[in-house]
């Protein structure tokens, strides 16, 4: 190690940001892992080492298993739907449609609104009888439906809100990529008589792969991070039908104050995030065409 001027300068510049970053991301991740092997300290009783007991207890916890399944469905639905919609929106807005500025603004709008605020509005939309959905559906003769109170539809409602919130945000990244695509590609394809669909499949889509990877990473993170609307709209109910992992961590940690279980849950969530990251970068990065 050469302790030269550049090294000292470099470390001094990086250190302030790096210390904060490690203190609130890497360090808590490590302490959470350690905590997950100890019991919850209660009153005078200190935490004792319990090995894998917290994890074994999780396997017997029906709410945890339910949260795992719910989150899998939630992620499996929101990620592809919001990405496909984002791509469609970007292609539409990139074309020569009437009212383009309005369309772009409309799609992007949900990104600027606090989830907590729009959750209140969606709460009204889903209200039985006089909520917007029931009012519209009653025009077609459908009866009342308790969207958020019915375990069969509550998770679907959460998915709809998440897709609505996210699609416009991802659209921006696709739009940015589309606008840097050279116009002569399009002209060459037109000369060869290639159809619009073929052009999209053979040229546009492959060129958008780096963007798709970036969007996918963000969509996966949000598939596990975005639970604000659950707190406002259902509180995990009815009967845990909308309990997602992060929401369950919040409930366990801050409503039941069971920090050991919360730590074990957090480790599960971190493992899922790390595993999906590894898959995305290892497997997909090979198929991305960088110029």
């Amino acid at each position: 190690m050469a302790l030269n001027r550049a090294t000292i300068q470099g470390w001094l510049l990086v250190l302030p940001a790096f210390v904060l970053l490690v203190a609130f991301t890497h360090w808590p991740a490590l302490t959470t892992l350690v905590d997950s092997f100890y019991s919850t300290p209660r009153g005078a009783r200190a935490a004792v080492f319990v090995g894998l007991d917290n994890y074994i207890a999780l396997l017997d916890d029906p709410v945890f298993l339910q949260a795992l399944i719910n989150n899998a469905i939630y992620a499996a639905a929101t990620i592809p739907i919001s990405i496909v919609l984002a791509l469609a929106m970007a292609l539409l807005v990139n074309g020569a449609l009437p009212g383009r500025p309005f369309l772009r603004m409309a799609y992007f709008l949900p990104t600027m609104l606090p989830m907590i605020a729009v959750a209140n509005i969606w709460l009204f939309f889903f209200t039985p009888d006089y909520g917007l959905f029931d009012q519209v559906l009653s025009l077609f003769g459908a009866g009342r439906h308790n969207w958020l109170g019915d375990a069969d539809t509550a998770l679907g409602a959460m998915i709809a809100v998440a897709v609505w919130k996210e699609a416009g945000f991802f659209m921006i990244f696709y739009l940015a990529a589309l606008q840097t695509m050279p116009a002569d590609l399009r002209e060459a394809a037109a000369l060869e008589g290639s159809s619009r669909f073929n052009f999209f499949r053979r040229v546009t889509l492959p060129l958008l792969m780096p963007t798709t990877l970036f969007v996918l990473v963000n969509a996966v993170i949000n598939g596990f991070r975005l639970v604000d609307h659950v707190v406002v709209m259902t509180r995990g109910g009815p009967d845990n039908a909308t309990t997602l992992l992060l929401y369950y961590i919040y409930e366990t940690g801050f409503r039941f104050w069971d920090t050991a279980t919360a730590a074990a849950l957090t480790v599960v969530l971190l493992t899922i995030l790390a595993a999906t990251a590894a898959i995305q970068f290892g497997f997909l990065a090979k198929r991305v065409h960088y110029r």
Binding site: I172, D228, Y250, T266
Partner: protein, 274 residues
């Protein structure tokens, strides 16, 4: 052009689909406006002739300390953006243009944060804050986000595109390291700062779960937490007042976005966030 050869029917269909989607996307906001400016009796009945009112806004404003919440959120966003700009600029410059021992290892460790965000580590970060005696302070809401891997990465990419000749020229004129950073790199990265600043402000204006956990008094709660408490306890199901409060808490960001929409989208694109 391919567009010119597309049949009219399919283009009409495309436009109709685009507009339908757009209307669906603005519907929640349109409804919030409708309910906020109508008496609660008419909030769910869409009669275009029902009278307008400002009572709901006044009622919501008086029912909870929204002015204080707004001040808290503003302070929070200012703290985060200023601190992130300074810290990320310094780190990004070192990563982009300096060759020092341990650089690549530090960079790799830092990038882990792109996958594991502080939002997930609620319980451990809460404990750190209580050890530091910071629970229920605006600083505690901001602290976990100040060292941002995303910000450092973004600025590093931008700094790397600055021509080395400009840097060398400044060096020949006798500029020190910080002077070069301030006179050459920062001005050239302005679009990135604007884009990143807007992203950061909208993220922290809207952030909810961590502030919910770490605050417990009026003097620290940001708008999002204040609004959720207001909507869940005080109002029951008076949609008009809830919508009025909802609009109030989104308004500053919404107005800023509508005014600077072009710049927002453009700077987003120019910053090359891809």
């Amino acid at each position: 052009m391919i567009a010119g050869r597309t049949p009219i029917a399919s283009r009409t269909l495309e436009a109709a689909g685009a507009w339908l989607l757009a209307i669906l996307w603005v519907l929640p906001l349109l409804y919030a406006f409708w309910a906020a400016f109508h008496h609660s009796a008419n909030a769910a009945r869409f009669d275009p002739l029902s009278p307008l009112t400002l009572d709901n806004l006044a009622a919501a404003w008086n029912a909870a300390p929204f002015a204080r919440y707004m001040l808290n959120t503003t302070l929070l966003c200012l703290t985060v953006v200023v601190a992130q700009f300074v810290l990320c600029t310094l780190a990004a410059f070192a990563f982009a243009r300096m060759d020092f021992w341990g650089r690549d290892t530090l960079f790799a460790i830092m990038l882990l944060q792109l996958m594991i965000m502080p939002d997930v580590l609620l319980v451990a970060n809460y404990r750190t804050m209580s050890l530091l005696g910071l629970v229920d302070s605006i600083l505690a809401i901001a602290l976990p986000y100040l060292g941002s891997a995303f910000g450092i990465f973004l600025l590093r990419q931008t700094f790397r595109t600055v021509p080395q000749e400009l840097d060398d020229a400044a060096r020949l004129e006798g500029c020190g390291l910080l002077a070069r950073l301030w006179r050459v790199y920062v001005p050239l990265a302005k679009p990135t700062y604007i884009a990143y600043g807007l992203v950061a402000v909208s993220y922290h204006w809207n952030n909810f779960l961590w502030p919910l956990v770490i605050t417990n008094s009026v003097n620290t709660r940001p708008l999002t937490v204040g609004l959720s408490i207001f909507a869940s306890t005080d109002q029951g199901i008076d949609w008009s007042i809830i919508c009025a409060a909802t609009l109030m808490s989104s308004a500053p960001l919404l107005i800023a976005f509508l005014l600077f929409q072009r710049q927002f989208v453009q700077s987003f694109m120019r910053a090359g966030i891809r």
